[in-house]
């Protein structure tokens, strides 16, 4: 097993794995733990993963991440899940320049808007933008046809645009 091979896999797919886990557990710390577990397994199985095609490696990583995340949720069944929004961050104490502040506000608005989407649209947005999956990969994972995925992406973007306009109008 070559170190660079694991490094490449990690570099290419760590984000995919993290957001695949996050999509299920909705908690930063847990998603990080699961990401760690996934790549620990990848490291231990590099003799099998190394020769695989990129698409197979990606599938394997996504599957392991999702399964571990679902296992976690099952174990936490009786506990109240946190309502942590997508990419919630610790508040900055340093004052920001106005432009930066505006940008941050807009991004926060987008994050909140994503949370308000229904589960299907939220999944598609998360997989496409956060996990950086292609339309065909999302289709494979969700069982929805690529054409429908594309339409839903368009629809989800429109919904988000409307939500952002509505919020801007309220301010």
């Amino acid at each position: 097993m070559s170190g660079s091979s694991f490094d490449k896999i990690y570099s290419d797919y760590s984000r995919l794995v993290y957001w695949a886990a996050y999509r299920v557990v909705a908690q930063n710390e847990t998603a990080e733990d699961i990401t760690q577990q996934v790549f620990e397994r990848a490291y231990l199985n590099m003799d099998k993963l190394g020769p695989m095609a990129d698409s197979q490696i990606k599938s394997w990583l996504y599957r392991v991440a999702t399964n571990l995340a679902l296992d976690h949720v099952r174990h936490q069944k009786h506990e109240t899940l946190s309502d942590e929004p997508v990419g919630a961050e610790i508040a900055d104490t340093e004052p920001l320049p106005e432009e930066e502040l505006l940008k941050k506000k807009r991004m926060e608005a987008v994050r909140k808007a994503i949370e308000q989407l229904d589960e299907t649209n939220r999944t598609i947005i998360t997989l496409h933008y956060f996990s950086e999956m292609t339309v065909n990969e999302i289709s494979e994972k969700t069982g929805i046809s690529p054409g429908t995925i594309k339409s839903r992406l368009v629809r989800a973007r429109s919904l988000l645009a409307d939500m952002l306009k509505a919020e801007a109008a309220e301010e």
Binding site: Y43, S158, L164
Partner: protein, 249 residues
């Protein structure tokens, strides 16, 4: 003539056709979403996660290696012991022959001064490594069902008295003769045995086995109605079971 074109796939990945170019509101939201996703992802300590994953994986690999080596050494040691015991038994058997080739009475040769049949400790401890520590002994009352040999006839009715650490079983053999089994843990030392040693004696119809399991306790087992070979096999099965159970705790 139709010309055939050979299509060769460069990779296994599906190459997506170029998508429609986004414009207007769609393009704006698309860019925003990418920025949000990049921003959120940038806040995640991916380097830290990678480091922990690799360290944990390496630790697991090292642990598996140690376990494999330990199992390997254990198997080699066990195999060597078994071979050594067979050789020892063979030599012992040869030495017991008188010059004219007749075998001596094995039991008479093994009787000690008390008139008891004393088995050589090495022959008896080969399967039950020999001792149960005082600390482990305190667990005995919870595990009374360990005090039955695995090869005890299934038709025998078992009884357990955990207060006294006594187990027993009664039944009948195929000819209607009675079978009896009693196993107790007693305080003290039996028959001058060293810790780990075992011996047996026959009194009337009863076959008794004594096993000094630690400095302060010995196992006393009685078989009635069984022939010596079966009793011996059951005693060894019992001792093996007790020792393995203790090791598994």
């Amino acid at each position: 003539m139709k010309k055939e074109r050979k299509i060769q796939l460069v990779t296994d990945d599906f190459i997506e056709p170029p998508g429609e170019e986004l414009t207007g509101e769609q393009a704006e939201i698309d860019a925003l979403l990418r920025a949000v996703a990049d921003d959120c992802s940038a806040k995640i300590d991916f380097e830290g996660i990678k480091q922990r994953a690799v360290e944990s994986a390496k630790a697991k690999k090292a642990k598996r290696g140690r376990l494999r080596r330990a199992i390997g050494y254990g198997m080699v040691a066990a195999a060597s012991l078994v071979v050594g015991l067979f050789v020892w038994q063979a030599v012992k058997g040869m030495n017991e022959r008188v010059p004219n080739g007749d075998a001596v009475d094995a039991q008479a040769a093994e009787r000690n001064d008390d008139g008891l049949t004393k088995h050589d400790p090495i022959a008896d401890v080969k399967v039950y490594v020999g001792t149960v520590s005082e600390a482990e002994y305190t667990a005995f009352p919870e595990t009374a069902d360990e005090f039955f040999p695995e090869n005890l006839p299934e038709t025998m009715k078992k009884r357990v008295d955990t207060d006294a650490v006594r187990t027993s079983a009664t039944g009948t053999d195929t000819k209607g003769g009675s079978l009896d089994y009693v196993c107790t843990v007693e305080k003290g030392c039996a028959k001058g045995l060293e810790v780990g040693e075992a011996c047996s004696e026959k009194t009337g119809e009863d076959l008794w086995y004594y096993w000094q399991i630690n400095e302060n306790h010995y196992l006393k087992v009685r078989f009635t109605g069984f022939d010596q070979e079966d009793a011996e096999a059951m005693f060894k099965s019992l001792a093996d079971r007790i020792t393995m159970q203790q090791k598994d705790r």
